[in-house]
Amino acid sequence: MRVADFRAPAVGPTTAEHESRLKRLWETSPGLEGFLGTVDHKQIGIRYIVTAFIFLALGGIEALVMRLQLAGPNLSLLTPEQYDQLFSTHGMTMIFLYASPILSGFSNYLWPLLLGSRDMAFPRLNALSYWIYLASGIFLYVGFLTGNGPNDGWFNYVPYADRDYNPGLNEDFYSLGMVFLGISTTIGAANFIVTAMRTRAPGMALNRMPVLIWGTLTASAANLVVVPAVSLAFFLLWLERQFGAHFFDPAGGGQPLLWQHLFWIFGHPWVYAIVLPAMGMVSHALPVFCRRPLVGYGIVALSTVATMVLGFGVWVHHMFATGLPGLGLSFFSGASIAIVFPSAVAVFAWLATLWLGRPVITTAFLYFSSMILMFVIGGVSGFMTASVPVDWQLTDTYFVVAHIHYVLIGINVFPVLGAVYFWFPKMTGRLMDERLGRWNFWLTFIGFNLAFLPMHLTGLLGMPRRVYTYQDGMGWDSLNMITTIGSFVLALGVLLFIVNVLKSLRGGALAGPNPWDAYSLEWSVSSPPPPYNFAVIPTVASRYPLWEGRLRESGAVSCVDQGMLLESHSKEAIGTSSMDATPDMILEMPEDSTAPFVLTLGTALLFVGLLLKLWSIVIIGTVVLAIATLFWLWPRRELREREVNP
């Protein structure tokens, strides 16, 4: 009965009694069941961040070993096969297991807090996307640790990835692992989109959404579109390897270039997907340290979307040397040059914010502001590769290695480290040590630039990528030595960062709710936030709810201490309309559940069975998966949605 579902939520200020009832409803139970079953976005977010950092450390150690091998010419610390697995695993780790999940982690943690909501739209899917990320990461690393790591680069070109040239399990681990991981990315992306579109606090119209949300929202929309391409490509590869399908094999009428199209139509948008949210972090947090709103919010948000849209049309710039016709190349060259415009918008917005604001230097500020320069360095080297004839010389040399590291470390790792300094107090209640922070920043900054700025020259002097060693007399010896030294300085900086995190966890100064005097809703609640985030659902009247008194903006005032209370017999949150965030529905949020974890176990069994072609394990995995899904989806009366009485 639809009518019976109407209910007007109670409105008022919070009380101690109200908060303790909410706490009982929302708190995850202690013990193993709570650990495996929690759907709290904050716990899941922190798990994502910690797991991604572990992968960052692993990928970093792999890089250091490679840098030892390349420190001088003709070194033989590693065999070619070891080196090939290391560089492929390094790429896979950093791109798939660190760069994207770390941003999912921050978004998971922050989104409901930024949006004034109590959880993600689909909390159990959220748990599932984490467990699948973890399981697929373990799956891929079991391959690596048993000597079956990917050995054809992260881009995995055929025919080298085919069984004729690559008979081991290496490529089976990689292809199945990537299909596995794709499940996590896809459901995570769907969850972010619905969360942004349906669970913003009342009054938070699209144009009042924190700019951070735009980055991840855009990236999520892109992921939904492009991840199927790469999952399909890897699945086809697995079929080709195991069952003799001929999708990529010219002898059977296939096309090696089909792989490259499928891969890069995913791969290039993916690069934007792992930098746009990080750019969003800078756009979001830099203004706090400049003590003024971001310059050009609207155009920055629009250019985020524009970057992504253009990003779908540039994948062929990875394939300029494959013999495609000149006219086609010209189009992709033009698109790749055009994409500089929306990217440049962000740079000018940040610079204007710095110049028109009153900056305060903190470790987080140093990470965010230095990112601007590295963004530009990575951007202009990308612009050079956009010019087809220039790229015929640049491509597949160390110039591109330098470029991709300025993009991935400069635009992803630096903002992420800054974001840890910025949001650590929210997550833990304690500030990070600023003195250690300065050492940490300067070591990472100097180490990184020492390693990768000279690498542009190594590339211009012709050193090809993906070589396990090089001959002497090529003019690359001292440049490579400098890079190796720089990479160890960078690693030392990251080590100091970890020391600072561990030290500050125990002994950091207490932060209070809003240590930076920042503007967005997460700073209106305690640090760390209570399990239910907001005792009353806030009402939002501007982009900067906590700065309203000082910005002299006209109009209504946001309200964080009075609002819908939303507590009955179960967990409740508010659903709002997509554009204007008018409340229109009470969402009954699911309880903790171990179904996502069990479903992940079933899926993992399924993939292990496929890998070993043990069909009995495939069947067992499928049954476990089916039972967990049934249990999860079994209809329960208390989980329906109610419309808010208009």
Binding site: P80, E81, P159, Y165, P250, P256, V288, F289, R291, R292, V295, G296, I299, A321, T322, G323, G326, L329, S333, I337, F341, A344, V345, F348, A352, T353, L354, W355, L356, P359, V360, I361, T362, V376, S381, F383, M384, A386, S387, P389, V390, W392, L394, T395, D396, L431, E434, L461, G462, M463, P464, R465, T469, Y470, G473, G475, P515, D517, R550, E553
Partner: protein, 321 residues
Amino acid sequence: MSGATPLTYLTAAGHRAATILPLTWFTLIISVLVCVIIAVLLWGAIRRARGSGGAAETRSVEVEPGPSGARWISIGLLISAVPLLATLIWTMVAIAATSGPPSPPGLTLDVTGHQWWWEVRYDAAEPDRSFETANEIHIPVGVPVRVRLHGGDVIHSFWVPALTGKTDTIPGQTNLSWMEARGPGRFRGQCTEYCGAQHAHMGLEVVAQPQADFDRWRAAQLRPAGAPQTSAQQRGLAVVEYRCGLCHQVRGTQAGAVAAPDLTHLMSRRTLAAGLLPNTPGNLAGWIQNAQEFKPGTLMPNQYLSGQQLSDVQAYLESLQ
């Protein structure tokens, strides 16, 4: 070779590379300028900082709305448009100018990428004027040379930076590249698409020589191997036919396989193992016996010849001028 950096692409010795080089420098200089300008702007902004420290220092500076500032974005974009548009136009012009040689090619080569060596075929209308060689390409100076690129196994990429940019060799399709050397010289090339264990050691050399020298080289290459002159060479030939001939070809003998580099005029080449080793007697012996140590994973197995056999084989191979 251009001094100590044989693979640099900041200098050019051929028509195609030289057409692209100014565009490379133009984009490089613009890029460096942009970085310097942004660095100065950033430095200037940070120097204006009101304080330095942590949370307390941040809170102590009051929030102010400040001017909108959006026009700075428009100004920045307008300024950026100039070099971007210039690069776009120049790029289109350069694509058109370098997609094919300025005059009809005087020579066409077929180059096939193999794990991990280059097969080079000089085809002529008359079959007896065609021949194969490996890893060392001779071209006449001042003549546009068309290079048809074939994929032998996995994808490789053909690159001679001083003469021409990269073009992939892809199984199942024939790609075209071209080059024209402006003067005589030896130019280093390299595979630049990752292709497995020995991708690092898949070099090649282009030797540009005056037309007369080139014609002499071509005539010499056309000849089959000479008959062995000494008894050591005779015994060596027997071993070569029996063992090396399983993969290699020596024209005019029983060694007739085409899975590995043609050895008919091995001694005319400057390097062994696709640019890895100078072609000296010591390296040749070492390579035959112990290829896996020099180039781990190469399809050339170690040979374990007896001392006598090795010196016979070497005596024969050294006669293959």
